[in-house]
Amino acid sequence: MILGLLQHISIQNLIWLICLLPLVSSCINWLLSASSSKLPSKAANSLASFVGISGPLLAFFSALIVFWVLTGIENSEAFAITGPLYQWIGFGGWSIDIGLRVDQLSLVMALVVTGVGTLIHIYSIGYMRGDDGYPRYFAELNLFLFFMLLLILADNLILMFVGWEGVGLCSYLLIGFWFSDIEKAKAGKKAFVVNRIGDFAFIIGIFLIWKMLAGQPIVGGSPLNFETLERNAAFLLPIATPVCIALFIGACGKSAQIPLYVWLPDAMAGPTPVSALIHAATMVTAGVYMIARLNFLYVLSPLALNIVAYTGAATALFAATIGLTQRDIKKVLAYSTISQLGYMFLAEGVGAFGAGIFHLVTHAFFKAALFLGAGSVIHALHGEQDLFNMGGLKKYLPGTFAVFFVAALAISGIWPLAGFYSKDEILWQVYERGYTGLWVIGFITAGMTAFYMFRATSLAFFGNLRIGEDKKHHIHESSISMLVPLVLLGVLSISGGWIKNSIGTFLEPRFASVTLEEVTHHENMEHILAVISVLWAAHWAFVAWIVYVQKPSWPEAMANKFRKIHSLLMNKYFVDEIYDAIVIKPLAWISETALWKGFDIPIIDNVGVNGSGRVVGFFGKLAAVLQTGLTPHYLFFMVIGISIVVGWLVF
């Protein structure tokens, strides 16, 4: 029987497996969750964790095998498509198929998602132990992984959109995982609604593509297939700018860029591993991935690329400034994520798609490590998230400290850790392509990144313990199931950048080249800039350590001195309040007063629904009254009826 199964092992089937294994796990866990009241909770939870881990782990192995096989073939690209499993939608000569596509780009993404995803799943066993919704948690996390892989591996825009919406759904479910807390449920709703705005633009983009391609002599199969789209991109030239901008707004929603970033800080309401997986390492990079996937469209529109670059740079700086003042450890990391995503868009905007994806990969490693480290701290302190109530945890949580410290170095861009290579690559590409202004913004942001990361590190792990005596003896290092993924991610945060050259050449065939104005290679300049930026980051990291460990009175003094700026940053530029005033309040007013009370109740309900019901009921009674039960009356109707028709014929 096993031999019989072996016959079915093909690259195509393995690709399907990558996608489907998490779905299978999810289904089993949903069943467990639905029947958890009838099962002994211990057994159910053990089974849930076993199933929940196996799916992602096996998917990771499948992805590895696919990677080895495809890269092992001489003289050929790492490329495979499953072909259509079946036709999903067909209309007017168009067809949209269910099919997957593996190429350099999606393979890198799939490895990161399944790899980091597996580690975070393992971490979750310890973190979520004892939670009432344990099987449900794993069901939702597995489901997320399925949709994420669908998004990555889809071979056409529509299927990608299915994954895109699916991850949004899972994000909503997991942010509001503890839905009995109304604030957390609201955070989930906010994330969902803000994402819908982006999704709407995404759909518009797809429609525009469809509208443009309909009726054109297209070469190849289904027009929304990436392959066909790439070959026929020239047809889209006239509307490349609106299409790219619409799709970019979609990316802004999912990847938390200005102006749609507001949901991500609130999304921290979910369990910390969820924040690590969905709101740092994978889902929020979907927008970055989508633009890289459609790079052949973006290179058609320099204007759209510039918008991407400037939005990315602005977001990077803007989020970093907010990050400087936040007190909640997860909020600091959330703004840091927004800022780092800005870097990725900046890279893509200047045409360095490979650099953007490379930063995506390293960021997945060190940001996951940071979040899991933060989770470990929060777990140890029983839910305490305020940095000013921590301090001196180095002694109590040595393992967590080591990983968090390393990851903070990595995100700050200190050589030779992962973040150095990718951030340096981005800054260099920006500089080399002549965007000096954007380079300055990126450079300043890098300094801020180092500062707020070491502010957080110092406040949490150095100095005096500011936690109550009663809680002190509870502090404990996390269990082995949480530490192992943490350490592995720490190792990846160190070494993840060393693949810089190989990943660059590996991804190269996927990206359309953006012609440089001066094709001269300033190797010396690159090294000088790298040294400067390392020193710059190290300097700010050191300053942060001085300020928050050696001179704890300084921050307060500074805050008092620059009261207005401090309160502006502390309150995140009042963006939420502004949105509330100019969007939400008017909308709520229109919906409630005008549409609901002014139109729906009096017009639709009263006149429309009840009114037509009353009219029909009245005529019904009338018709029934005619039915007197007396034969003469019946015959009379007959005579009248025939007479009417005869009259009609005669006149």
């Binding site: 005529f619 039915q627 039960g629 034969t631 015959l635 007959m638 009826g641 028709v645 014929l649």
Partner: protein, 490 residues
């Protein structure tokens, strides 16, 4: 074709005639008290099955005119004959386990004889190609129906219904005969193809003749303005007979109506008249159904409305419209018989409440359905199957009624009768209200009593299963049925 040569194509009708006579004689000579009805029904079933086989055998023989052209044996006629026979077979099974009919058990052999005779009459009507033949067949069917409606002799309600039906039927026959005599006076013949010989364009006198002939058919299918007998007769008749009348004679009426008016061609401007009548019929049926509290009477109005929907297909005047009508009859047979079967089972097993059968709280009243879905397993099954039939009658997917309505509306849109399609759709919405009121009563009202309805008979349960399965199954896989219907048109 001369008379003797025609005989070999007339076997199905010969069988039915023989069976009807045998059953009469059996009723006289047999002394098996109590078991008589059972044996009679078996004979009737055997006869109908044999007849069905021979109808099928003659399906593909072209369209030979029999008996010097009085009858014609074409595919639509064969299709309708199968519809009559299937309906009769199902209704015989209903009748075997009907409490209303058991009250007069001694007569049940005659009952089956009348039922078979009625099928014979309808078979003739479906093939009739001559106004004289049409009149005879029409009267034949009517006479059988009168007796069957009044068959529950102990019930004054049943007798009253029969009498009304007779009076109304007599007048309707008169109108038809008047039309036929005008026609004969104008054309000198009773062949239905002679509409066209009178004048190239519609002409008032021939139109009047056509109109009066049409009135006779409208009476048979219970369309406005010839509908008034229908609610009373349906309500008073024993439930199996109501089920039978709501499908088979209606189908016969449509068969002859479509035959005559497709022959009439442009000689009489009928499509518009039928379109208006169709709109009036469905609107009246649906509106009048709304305030009803007796489920049987409600279904009677619903069947008037369905005659309206079916007339839409006729009004389109195209082969596609005819195809839609044929398909709808197959669908209507399944779902409508199913709904009446549930009514019968409830009435059989409900305790005799105050008000007897009809009044508030009677066995056929809506009150007897209160909380049915929550009264035990069989209550739940009855509730769910009733819901399936009612949803299908409304025309909601994935049930067969939806497919039927879809074809009808498609044909009407095809014929560019957009106003009629609009009225049809508005009517479907209205009909949802009273159908769903029953469903609401079944599932959401508090049970009036704790009595659990029981399936007194396995055979009713089995036929209920078959009908509800068919309602769903054909709703999902209708292609084979539409292939059959397409073959009928071809």
């Amino acid at each position: 074709m001369p008379n003797l040569a025609s005989m070999s194509f007339f076997i199905p009708e010969l069988i039915l005639s023989a069976v009807a006579l045998i059953l009469f004689i059996f009723a006289l000579v047999s002394d098996k008290a109590g078991k008589k009805g059972e044996y009679a029904s078996v004979i009737a079933i055997a006869g109908l099955l044999a007849s069905a086989v021979f109808v099928l055998k003659n399906f593909n023989i072209g369209s030979p005119p029999l008996f010097w052209g009085l009858l014609v044996l074409d595919k639509p006629a064969a299709f309708f004959k199968e519809i009559f026979i299937i309906t009769a077979l199902i209704v015989i099974i209903f009748s075997q386990r009907s409490n209303e009919l058991r009250a007069g058990a001694n007569d049940s052999a005659e009952y089956y004889s009348l039922l078979v005779g009625s099928v014979l009459g309808m078979n003739l009507l479906a093939s009739a190609n001559n106004l004289l033949m049409i009149y005879l067949a029409l009267e034949f069917v009517s006479l059988m129906s009168f007796i069957l409606v009044g068959f529950a002799r102990g019930s004054s309600r049943s007798s009253e219904a029969a009498l009304k039906y007779v009076l109304y039927g007599a007048v309707a026959s008169g109108v038809f005969l008047y039309g036929a005599s005008l026609y004969y006076g104008l054309t000198g013949t009773l062949d239905i193809k002679s509409f066209l010989t009178i004048s190239p364009s519609p002409h008032l006198t021939i139109s009047l003749a056509g109109l009066f002939i049409l009135a006779g058919f409208l009476y048979k299918i219970a369309a406005v303005p010839m509908h008034a007998w229908c609610p009373d007769a349906y309500e008073g008749a024993p439930t199996p007979i109501t089920a039978f009348l709501s499908v088979a004679p209606k189908a016969a009426g449509f068969a002859v109506l479509m035959r005559v008016f497709s022959a009439a061609g442009d000689g009489f401007n009928w499509p518009l008249i039928i379109a208006v009548i169709s709109a009036a019929t469905m609107t009246f049926g649906n509106l009048a159904a709304i305030p009803q509290t007796n489920v049987k009477r409600l279904l009677a109005y619903s069947s008037i409305a369905h005659a309206g929907y079916l007339l839409m297909g006729v009004a389109s005047g195209t082969p596609r419209g005819a195809e839609a009508v044929y398909f709808y009859f197959a669908a209507y047979l399944v779902m409508n018989l199913g709904a009446f079967l549930v009514v019968q089972i409830i009435a059989n097993t409900s305790p005799p409440l105050m008000g007897g059968d009809i009044g508030e709280g009677g066995r056929e009243s809506l009150a007897a359905y209160k909380g049915l879905g929550r009264r035990g397993a069989s209550g739940a099954i009855l509730g769910i199957t009733m819901t399936i039939f009612l949803l299908s009658l409304t025309g909601i997917p994935p049930f067969v009624g939806f497919i039927g309505k879809f074809y009808i509306f498609a044909a009407v849109m095809d014929a560019k009768l957009y106003w009629l399609a609009f009225i049809g759709i508005a009517n479907s919405v209205v009909s949802l209200y009273y159908y769903m009121r029953i469903v609401k009563t079944i599932f959401f009202d508090e049970p009036a009593d704790a009595v659990q309805p029981a399936f007194s008979s396995r055979r009713l349960a089995a036929i209920l299963g078959v009908l509800s399965f068919a309602t769903i199954f054909i709703g999902l896989y209708w292609q084979w049925l539409s292939n059959i219907v397409a073959a009928v048109i071809a």
